[in-house]
């Protein structure tokens, strides 16, 4: 699992640590350079001071007087420990050590004439500044040990790095708390979602939301709404279906009980006949319920193809029992249309069944070109639909006053829904003098 929080924490802590390391390295380098500069300046300063003291005769150097036997003068230096590490030697130009500071090494600090140089004396590396004083015939050398310099730099860097390292865990804790707080709207959302029962599809509150989460919450609420709509549709469908199935079941049970109880041969036989017809009718109702559910759910994306719809009409008519003699398909070249064969067949089958059950005469099917559409007309010679019932005739489960024994009130609803899925329409009209004309209009191929 990827967690935004732990990823954020890792990134923040790693990058902060890295920046911190860079800062420490930078400070180390620049401190070192600065300390070197300061120490070099000190060396120069010290050498010049000794030189000027010599020139003003503030320091008397016995050996300088020309007496070779006299030992080199040792002068005292005072101050803190670093200061004492500064060593000074005064050499005559002819190569005699004429004076030196306390603790200064015996060996010559540098061979260089003047300016800065580095040399190894007595196993120690020294940085030395030398001034030549031709007037006095001496060379003043002031040096300090590189090891001391390094210690000094190290101490400065340590003073900076130790608090920095100590601060790091604290910084990590601050980052952790901030990330947690920053993510808390997400946590709250997750909590309110996970504590919901499956049936609770109320939208999440979308006020006071951070702008990063708001789009997700709005999308989620949109999804909730759509799921709710689908569920409502299914719920009402299930309620309708249960209701519609109970009546034929009650009829079947009643007829069965009549058949069991009756000793009268005719009553007995009639009941059994009714049961047989009732089972046919109920299974057709179930098939239609499933068809309607499938069409309404829109599980299948229509696969539109361009062809003549007449072939589908022929195929559907061929599949219907007893339709052969009664369904007449009008000849002539049929215009080409765009349709989904499965949906068109479903729509046509229900229209044909409807026409066949509500009339005894022939059922006429024809196709003709209309404006931008192809119209398939199914005409029967039945009683038609009373004008006041026409608008409701395609409602599911609507059965008019003149209902037949085998109708379910679903056929026209399925036909309408199926043709609507192909961007078509279903129009019902009464014919003169009698009969119903159902017109399926589907997009034409231009």
């Amino acid at each position: 699992m990827t967690s935004i929080r732990s990823r954020l924490l890792t990134i923040l802590i790693a990058s902060t640590g890295l920046v911190w390391l860079f800062a420490v390295a930078w400070i180390y380098v620049s401190t070192q350079a600065e300390v070197e500069r300061v120490l070099d300046a000190r060396l120069t300063e010290a050498a010049r001071m000794v030189n000027s003291l010599l020139a003003e005769r503030r320091i008397e150097l016995a050996a300088l007087a020309g007496d070779d036997e006299l030992p080199a003068t040792e002068f005292q230096t005072e101050g803190p420990s670093y200061e004492r590490q500064l060593s000074c030697q005064i050499w005559s130009l002819d190569g005699r050590l004429v004076g030196r500071s306390e603790h200064a090494p015996d060996g010559r600090l540098t061979e260089a004439g003047s300016g800065f140089s580095e040399s190894v004396v007595g196993g120690e590396t020294w940085r030395v500044y030398a001034i030549e004083n031709p007037a006095l015939g001496v060379r003043v050398m002031v040096g300090d040990s590189i090891a001391v310099r390094d210690r000094l730099v190290g101490d400065v860097v340590k003073g900076l790095a130790i608090p920095a390292v100590l601060i790091l865990p604290f910084l990590a804790a601050v980052i952790w708390v901030s990330v947690r707080r920053g993510m808390s709207p997400l946590d709250r959302m997750a909590q309110s979602l996970s504590s919901r029962p499956a049936t609770d599809l109320r939208p999440l509150a979308d006020d006071n939301l951070p702008e990063e989460i708001a789009p997700a919450v709005r999308a989620l609420n949109g999804l909730f709404q759509r799921v709710e709509d689908v569920r409502d549709r299914e719920k009402s469908f299930t309620a309708f279906a249960a209701h519609e199935l109970k009546t034929p079941l009650a009829g079947l049970k009643t007829q069965a009980q009549v058949a069991l109880a009756s000793k009268d041969g005719e009553v007995h036989e009639n009941a059994l006949r009714q049961i047989a017809a009732g089972v046919d009718r109920t299974s057709r109702l179930v098939r239609q319920l499933l068809d309607l559910a499938a069409v309404e759910a829109g599980d299948r994306t229509p696969e539109m193809q361009e062809a003549s719809p007449v072939e589908i009409v022929r195929q559907v008519a061929g599949e219907l029992p007893f339709a052969g003699e009664r369904v007449r398909i009008e000849g002539g070249p049929a215009p080409s249309a765009r349709f989904d064969p499965v949906l068109l067949a479903l729509s046509l089958r229900n229209l044909l069944e409807n026409a066949l059950t509500h009339s005894d005469g022939p059922v006429l099917v024809s196709a003709r070109k209309a404006v931008g559409a192809v119209e398939i007309l199914v005409e029967d010679e039945g009683p038609g639909i009373p004008v006041d019932e026409l608008p409701r005739a395609t409602d599911r489960f609507f059965r008019g006053r003149a209902k037949s024994a085998s109708g379910s009130g679903l056929g026209l609803a399925i036909a309408k829904e199926a043709v609507a899925r192909m961007n078509g329409t279903l129009t019902l009209e009464n014919r003169k003098p009698r009969g119903l004309a159902a017109a399926l209009s589907i997009p034409a191929v231009e």
Partner: protein
Amino acid sequence: MRILVVEDDPMLLDGLSAGLGLAGFTVDAVATCEDGFAALQAHSYGAVVLDLMLPDGSGLDVLAFLRRRKDATPVVLLTARDQVEDRIAGLDAGADDYVGKPFDLDELAARVRAAARRGAGQASGELTWRGVVLDPARQTVSLEGEPVSLTRREFGVLRTLMERPGATVSKAMLEETLYGWQEEVESNAVEVHIHNLRSKLGSGFIRTVRGLGYRLAEERA
């Protein structure tokens, strides 16, 4: 007992006509509210079995029509929508009982009988008169404990008389309770049934009230 059944499903209506007929009722069957109104205006029924969802309205409209006319005919509602709220709505509208689809035919017949009995103010289902016991539920009659075999129509005549002990029942009313619409009434049928009943239950059990009809005799002749 003559009852009216209002149900729009043809198979169920046919089954109810046959089944309730077997249970001893004389059944008038209609499929719409409109026909229901007409039937209720033309005849008086022992009970009405009423479907709620009808093509031209709700069975509750028919019920309201009855109750507006202060007609207390017992009504048993029949519906596929047997949620508690629907039952409450139906009973509050003045129905006497409520049966959810699919139902048991015998249970429906028993409920219709019970509703009719309550309507007539009887506590027990059995009718008793001078040693004759008539059980409408089992459609049996006994005389001094001995079973008596009766035809359906003889049973109907006896039942109508025993439901109104001491009252005179006209021949027309007897015919009405015996025959539904579709049935042809034979002119002397009632006389034939009365004659048969007398031979089975004793000649003095039913008295003829000349010009008015028949009633049960108070004492043995």
